[in-house]
């Protein structure tokens, strides 16, 4: 069952059209910002039902995102968010979150 059919990469494209040049880091930070809406940057809200990502094992995060992408792990929301992520996006985001101290 599909709840969302939007892609994060589409969102990233629309972001890079602003006056700041889109460096690789900017893209990563931006992706993180999309994810942080629910997961928080360091911690999700005390009140929110989303799992934390900061400081988690990099391989675990990559695997989870691949599983969401190919729908071997089911979550209406994450299946649709991960659907638009490239391998590079997944590596970048996983690396980004792993390095953050929660």
């Amino acid at each position: 069952m599909k709840l969302f059919a939007y892609t994060v990469s589409l969102l990233l494209i629309s972001f890079s059209s602003n006056s700041f040049s889109a460096s690789a880091f900017a893209g990563r930070a931006k992706a993180a910002q999309v994810c942080s809406q629910c997961h928080g940057i360091k911690n999700p809200s005390a009140e929110a039902p989303f799992p934390p990502l900061a400081g988690r094992d990099e391989l675990y995060l990559e695997k989870a995102l691949r599983q969401y992408r190919n729908k071997t792990r089911k979550s209406d929301i994450m299946n649709n968010i991960a659907a638009g992520l490239s391998n590079r996006d997944i590596n970048n985001i996983a690396e980004y979150y792993t390095r953050l101290k929660p």
Partner: protein, 523 residues
């Protein structure tokens, strides 16, 4: 302060094409009291009357013709890079569906009644005998002026993340957290007794906080929405105002008992009788008065703190007033008018308009900033509009009441910070893209932007520590921390985590009156 204006839908929300299923993922829907659900989850941002507050109005008029599917998805995911949080899994799918229906069929509600009687009933006492409280701070601090209070909104504008967080601005350590139930918005410090602070929340509750023991001792609900709060120079009275309903009330600062209520209405600059939101309310070191801006009526009322609390009305101040700041020992009041793009200077002694000064596009002066530079008293005003990409910070000579310069900055701005000992005036860029992460610094002497700091999150509400050595900035929205910089070198000194931080208030400011002025200017 707050923004109540038309919002553009964020880039992101607009670019989400949708395909929603008809079935519910969640087992149960049940018949909910939608109004209650709205009050409990949405009203503190969108307004109890569905008329908008710091988020857009949600009613049958504003949501007419909008796709229910798109609205549902926006409510589930939230709107990225704004304060709109994701309600996925917090509300069930069927609750969100019913909510959309409810919003699209509910007109903006009439001004609800919230009078002295309701206020009195809402008074809560957490500490019965204040005389038993410790008589000095229960933590180490050189001076209470070093206390900085941060209004942590909490992601959902209520609940566990919503608290007033107090920090020692010399050590950058948290000295206390006071839960506020709904998002804290403004923190006022008692000028006469350093132990008391007052926190106003978006749901118009006022908390009296004991800074020595870091706890709330009392609270009262003075309305349904609205941030305005001011304190008298003798620390005896508070005046608070609401957007919903349109009233203001004077409270006894010790007991929080309401003393007198004011209905906010008057003839606007276009000659129409209107009921009005409460804009800023300010006490002044100059006299025993409060000044209050009637947003829609374009009037400033001066209330004398004596028998009967008589009011002097200053009319035709400008269209859609909002916030203001003081200068000249608290005698001059500079009031921002959104719709006329001016800042009106008022003499609080004669209670007359001195002059209307040109500002930038939609002036939102925040707490304002005033600094003495080479013998001149310079006022700095931020502007949050972005007309024709012409974004400036206005600088006025407040002695002669002339424009000195409109300083180009990289986007809309919402609040400035200055300090007698700090070389730069900090302004927060709030334009909704990468720029929102930044703070720009204007050199006091050259009046040019000399540096841009990448703070992160939605960077806003800069404030200097009482000694002017540190610049505090909220990395708001999902940034979830307050970032501290050395005021001279601009090196990052500390990060202080908290949920969706917003307004930052230094206790030092009760002495400085306005950000930037030094205590000598107060003699």
């Amino acid at each position: 302060m707050t923004i109540k204006t038309t919002f553009n839908k964020s880039l992101l929300a607009a670019s989400i094409p949708l395909l929603l299923s008809t079935g519910s993922v969640f087992a149960k829907s049940g018949s909910h009291d939608m109004h209650k659900l709205y009050e409990e989850n949405c009203a503190s941002c969108h307004g109890s009357d569905h008329g908008g507050y710091l988020a857009p109005a949600l009613n049958s008029e504003t949501l007419k013709g909008r796709s229910p599917t798109a609205l549902r998805s926006l409510i589930m995911t939230g709107s990225f890079e704004t304060l709109m949080p994701p309600f996925f899994a917090r509300l069930s799918d069927s609750e969100i569906r019913s909510m959309v229906k409810h919003l699209q069929s509910t007109p903006k509600l009439a001004n609800p009644a919230w009078n002295i009687k309701e206020m009195k009933k809402s008074l809560k006492i957490y500490v019965k005998d204040e005389s038993k409280l410790a008589t000095a701070p229960t933590y180490k601090i050189d001076s209470m002026d070093d206390v900085i209070g941060v209004a942590a909104r909490g992601k959902y504008g209520r609940g566990q993340g919503s608290e007033a967080v107090f920090i020692n601005s010399k050590t950058h350590k948290i000295i206390g957290k006071v839960p506020t139930n709904t998002a804290a918005h403004i923190i006022e410090f008692n000028p006469a007794n350093p132990r008391w602070a007052y926190v106003k929340t978006d749901a118009a509750e006022v908390y009296k906080v004991d800074l020595y023991t870091m706890q709330a001792v009392r609270s009262i609900k003075t309305g349904l929405n609205g941030p305005a709060i001011g304190i008298s120079r003798d620390g005896k009275y508070l005046m608070v105002g609401s957007f919903v309903p349109h009233n203001a009330v004077i409270l006894d600062a010790e007991t929080l008992e309401p003393l007198k209520q004011f209905e906010l209405e008057g003839i606007d600059p276009d000659g129409k009788m209107v009921s009005s939101d409460s804009g800023m309310i300010i006490g002044t070191p100059y006299a025993d008065i409060f000044a209050i801006a009637l947003e829609n009526a374009g009037q400033v009322w001066v209330v004398d703190l004596k028998e009967g609390f008589p009011v002097t009305k200053i009319k035709n101040v400008g269209r859609h007033l909002h916030d203001a700041f003081l200068s000249h020992k608290g005698k001059k009041l500079m009031v921002a008018s959104y719709d006329d793009s001016i800042v009106t200077a008022i003499d609080l002694e004669t209670r007359k308009i001195i002059k209307k000064l040109p500002a930038g596009c939609v002036p939102h002066v925040g707490g304002g900033s005033v600094v003495k530079v080479d013998g001149r008293t310079l006022g700095f005003g931020t502007n949050f509009g972005t007309c024709d990409d012409n974004t400036v910070v206005s600088v006025w000579d407040l002695d002669t009441m002339e424009v000195v310069k409109q300083v180009p900055v990289s986007g809309g701005t919402e609040s400035p910070a200055a300090h007698a000992n700090a070389p730069y005036v900090a302004v927060d860029i709030i334009t909704k893209d990468r720029r929102a992460r930044t703070i720009q610094l204007i050199d006091k002497k050259s009046l040019e932007v000399v540096k841009t700091l990448d703070v992160g999150g939605h960077a806003y509400f800069p404030e200097y520590s009482a000694d002017g050595k540190y610049l505090y900035v909220s990395a708001g929205y999902a940034g979830d921390e307050v970032v501290v910089y050395d005021a001279k070198t601009l090196k990052k000194t500390a990060n202080i985590p908290m949920e969706s931080p917003a307004g930052i208030f230094s206790r030092g400011r009760v002495k400085y009156m306005t950000r930037g002025l030094s205590p000598d200017e107060m003699e």
